[in-house]
Every structure is written in C-alpha cells, then in structure tokens.
C-alpha cells in the first residue's frame, strides 16, 4: 500500500489535466476488471461483473493546483486557483507544470498576513525575461504542488492524498475482491476539486442503483483543532453529513452493518464544510441513494496531507465487504 500511495501521489494531475494519473491507473487495473473505459469528460470506469445491482464507486483522480493567468515583462507568472486553495498555504511552495517546468511561489511585500491574497503571489520559474518564460509556460497552463512523499511509519505524508488515497483504496479493493455480488462500476473521476463535475456526468451516464464515494475527511485530533469527532487511526469514517450530502439512511445502515459484521474499525463523520462526489451522484436523474467511506486526513489541501495506514486498510476492507455483499435497496 505504501508503494502504491507513493507512486499515485508523485503524479501531477490538477483538475482538468488528469491524463498521466489516468494512464497509471489504467495500467494498474488492466488485469483486475472486465472492462476499462474512459468517458468524454475523462472519467476512467473499471467495470467488474458480479450481480444485478449497479454499484458505483467514485474516487477522484484530480488534485488542487494553480493556473497561469498572465506573464509579466520580467517573466514572473501571475496565477489563479484550481480548486480550494488558501494563499498562506502557497507561499514558498514549489510547483510543477505538466511539461516538467518547475517554479517557486513568491509574494509581494506585505505588512500583515491578512493582506496575503492570491493576487499578491506569483510564480518564479527562474526566467530572466518574458520571452524566456514564454518558451516554457503559456497562459492557461496548470501546475500542481511538488512535494516529496514522506514515510513516517504508521502514517504517511504527501501532496494529493486528497484523493489519491481514495484511488488507492479502490484499486486495492478491486485487486482483492474475489466474489463480487454486484455489478461494480469503479469510477476514477475528474474535476472533483472544481465542483464534483466528473462524478456528475459519470453518474448520469451509468445511472447506478447506489453510489459510494471514497474520499478524505478532516479530523479534530490536532492542537486547538475544530471540534470534530474524526481521528487518525480510529478506522474508516462512514459519512453522515457534509455540505453536499446527507447520507441516505439505508446506505449509512448498510455500511455500518457491514463494518460491524466484519470487525472493521470505523467511526462516524459529520463534516460542517466540504463535499464529495457522492453529493453529485445522489442528485443525478430521479435520485440515487449514496454514501461515502472516508479516510481521515490531516492538513487537507496542503502539500503535506497525512493519513494513517490503519484507516486506509479499514477503508479497503469496507469497500471489499460492500462489493461482496448482495445489495438490495
């Protein structure tokens, strides 16, 4: 699992530019499903036959990033956000463009941190002129954080664990599942960070009976953290509510029962901010019951997100249990 997480998080794939990560997951899954398709939006759908009920899983491949809006005379790049980015998390970070160009984020002189907005920041790619900069980068190019993977033993740190850890859980579950009892549509979605866009069209195309998103959730287990019940190392989180979804009672019941029956460590999640692909899935067409299995994650939307491998393992086991349980709703 550590190796899979390391490789998944090392690939740059900001929203809208998921080509590299998609190719990686395609190669990883080609021997573990009946069919692999890519839809118009770029969602990767791994299908595995198993039963009557159409069960969609969704983990998003994209990560937050920055997009170049202008290149000034001296060759500095101005940029805007792709997904939810806070300026103070960007300052002095390194970013990598799709073509491999690297840059660092600098800030104009400010007297007070409160004045730090995206407009005060710029990317320095080491160019000495606009002409030189334009040979490497164009307006509209998207970059993502460049930050190494860190193995802390039971816990690992990397950029883009939101939601490569969800991708890893789904890949591992597909490899482990032996007797699927439902038709499995494992979707690796695009553009989640810019408004659940890939999941919306994937669900419309598939029209499943049940949708389950795999994503990360925030925790309340750090100094002076928001008062949240979720903790690292306490198991897979079964979501009850976030801004995009209130979990269908039967889906919450199903996941809870499966976790209890299989002795899978789990915790319940209420997240007063944020949303996941399940938010888009459940409002598709005439309505689709949906839920979320989350992996608790510290320092969300930073270049150093942290998860606990016990929670990852619990999430894999809960996904496999769901795949192997004949579902009727």
């Amino acid at each position: 699992m550590k190796d899979l997480l390391r490789r998944l998080t090392s690939i740059p794939a900001p929203s809208g530019r998921e080509e590299q990560i998609r190719a990686f997951i395609q190669a990883e899954l080609k021997d573990y499903c009946d069919e692999l398709t890519v839809d118009t939006m770029g969602n990767l759908i791994a299908f595995k036959r198993g039963g009557k009920t159409k069960l969609q899983f969704a983990a998003h491949m994209d990560e937050i990033g920055v997009i170049v809006t202008a290149i000034d005379e001296q060759g500095f790049l101005r940029f805007s956000n792709v997904g939810g980015i806070r300026p103070h998390r960007l300052y002095a970070q390194r970013v990598r463009f799709q073509n491999g160009t690297m840059g660092v984020i600098g800030a104009e002189k400010i007297d007070d941190l409160k004045q730090l907005t995206l407009e005060k920041l710029y990317i320095d790619i080491g160019a000495t002129s606009a002409e030189e900069a334009k040979t490497k980068v164009a307006v509209g190019d998207i970059a993502s954080f460049d930050h190494g993977y860190l193995d802390l033993g039971q816990r690992v740190v990397a950029k883009a664990l939101d939601d490569r850890v969800g991708c890893a859980v789904l890949i591992e579950a597909l490899k482990r599942v032996t007797k699927p009892q439902n038709d499995l549509y494992c979707t690796f979605t695009v553009q989640e960070e810019v408004g659940l866009r890939g999941a919306k069209t994937a669900a419309f195309g598939l029209d499943p009976d049940l949708g389950i998103a795999l994503d990360v959730t925030a925790t309340g287990d750090t100094p002076e953290a928001p008062k949240l019940a979720m903790k690292l190392g306490q198991g897979a989180a079964i979501k009850v509510k976030d801004v995009s979804l209130i979990t269908h009672p039967q889906v919450k019941e199903l996941l809870t029962t499966l976790a209890e029956q299989n002795g899978i460590p789990h915790q319940f999640e209420v997240l007063p901010f944020g949303g996941t692909d399940a938010g888009a899935i459940h409002l598709t067409k005439a309505g689709i019951p949906a839920g979320v299995i989350s992996v608790p994650c510290r320092y969300l939307h930073s270049p150093s997100e942290m998860v606990d491998l016990n929670d990852v393992e619990a999430a894999v086991r809960l996904v496999v249990a769901t795949m192997e349980h004949p579902i009727t709703l």
Binding site: G220, P226, K227, L228, A229, V240, K241, I246, T247, H248, P249, K252, Q267, F268, E269, V270, P272, H282, L283, T284, K285, A286, G287, I288, P289, L329
Partner: protein, 354 residues
Amino acid sequence: MQTEKLLKELTDAVGPSGREDRAAQIILDFFSNGDGRCWISELRRDRLGNIILRKAGQGEHPPRIMLAAHIDEIGLIVTALEDGFIRFSTIGGIDQRVLLGQEVIVHGREDLPGVIGAKPPHLQQADERNKAVKIEDMTIDLGLAPERMAALVRVGDPITIKRSCGTLKNSFYAGKAMDDRAGVVALVECLRRLKDYNHEAEVLVVITVQEELGVRGAFVSSYGLNPDIGLAVDVTHGEMPGLADYEGFKLGQGPVIVTGPPVHPLIFDKLKAAAEAGKVKYQVEAAETPRGTDAYAIQIAQAGVASGLVCIPLRYMHTSVETLALDDLKETGRLLAEFIMQIDRAFLEGLECY
C-alpha cells in the same frame, strides 16, 4: 381529518432534512388509510423519499401539473461527544442566536430529551455579554453520564427542537416546522377541494424532502416526473416590526403569488386570473433570487418546466415559533385548486409558443 388537526400533528412531528420518515408517515397514512385515500389515483415514494400523490386527469394526454411542498424541517446534528456533553452542527439554515435555552430531542438509539445550555450572566466576562454565542461553543446536556451517553448517542444522530404547535388568538398558529408543513397542508387542502371535480390536468402532488439543504428532493422528483407545469408552495416572510413594507406580507390577507426569476410570466398571470375567478384575496411578491424554494429546481429540470410559486405569509421564519394565519393556508389550497381547474391543453400550447 380537519385542517387544524393535520397542521398541528404535522408540525409537531419529527422530520429534519434527510430523516423525514416520521413526518412523512402522517401523509402516507392519510392517503393510504385515511380520508385522503379516495382523493388520489396513486401513491408512491421515490428513491430519495419524496412522496408522489397522483390524481388522474382527463383525455389521453392531459396537461401534467406538479405541485411541490417540502416536508423536511431544519434541525441539528451531533458532531462529537465531549465529557458528557454533545457538540453539534446544523441541518439547514438555523439561526444560532435563537438556540440558547431551547429544549431539544436527540434522536439517538432512542429519543432523548435535552437542553441547550448557556453560560450564566454572572460568570460572563464584559466582552462576552454583547456577543452572540457561536454554535461551535454550544453544547447539549442530556443529563447522562459519558459512558451511558456513548451507548445511546452516535456522531451523526439528528436533533430537533422540542416544540408543540400552539394557538394564538384569531386562528393564528405558532410552532416549529410551519416552513413548510403549512405548504404540505395547503396541498392536502387543494386535493380535498379537487375530489369533487373533474379537471383536465393530471395532478402530481409531491411532498419533497431535503429542501432546506438545497432543494434536493425537488431536483430529483421533477426530473423523474418531467411535468409540463410545476408550482412550488412554500412560505414567505410575514410582516413584523423591523421589516420594510416590501419585506413582509400581511397575515390573514391571503396567499402570496410570486413573480420574478423562478416564475414563468404566463403561470404568474394564470395564478392571478385563477385567484380573481375564485374570489381568492391574494398578495404579490417580487422574488429577488431564483433560488430558495423548490421552484428553482423544478424550473430547470430536464428541458425546462413552466414554473410558479405560491407562498403562505409566515412570521419568524426558521425559529421554533413560526407563526401563520390558518385562513391563509386554506385560501392557498383554494387558489391552487382554482388554478388546476383552469389548466387545459390550449393553455399548454400557449406556453409552447411563448
């Protein structure tokens, strides 16, 4: 069942967004075993819990009218257990300033009575006295020891305000969840009136879920039904001290017919014509935004639906003392029935050429 009784029973019932079952059961009972059984042709529930009550129209291709009112209410939800107290967040747009000192019911493994406590004024610092307490800093006390609480309450359990609907003078009613159980009762009134009439249009009354979380039930039910015309029935602000004239509508002066972004101009005109034909006193509101009611979801369902919005004036919205006049609710039902009687194939063709 009398209108008053249904309103009291419905508003007292528990049904926060996403967990509407207990309130919904009252409607299901009424239309499968009660008086309402003979008023409709079909009853069903969709996958997210919306209740659909269909009354057949006439002819092979009757105009199909969807009428929506939401049964969910705003509420609270357990976010963490802390030393025998409950931390909580909101379900829908709760005003945190009206929470302190409220009695609540925590819907754990059983219904548990609780109170939202407040720091005594004697112990407040000077700077605390003039500030509203934030919801993150409030807790619920069940009187239970931490171990016992952990056995009965889990993160994610819903919480509702405990409040029994009361009667004021002049047939005014005050209680929780009038938004929008009053609309639901108006739709029941509408069906009661229609039972003795033959109308060309097929009537699809939808008791929607999860409106308070972003008109979610209306999104999926209107997609599933794909009606020709859709009306949302909800509440609007009643006049009270501190509001400008245009912000509040008079209680007891009839339903409010809304015009603006969520409303098709021909539906607005037709609603006024129906009110005039039926001698229903009405008021007019200009909506400032397309969002905020089920009409928003209905309007943009599938290839688009000609939509309208009728509201019942309500004071103190999103508190546990939402106050309305019973007459307005009955008159709203009468207006909707009049509107349905007037819709025919020719009117639909007029919409298509709009």
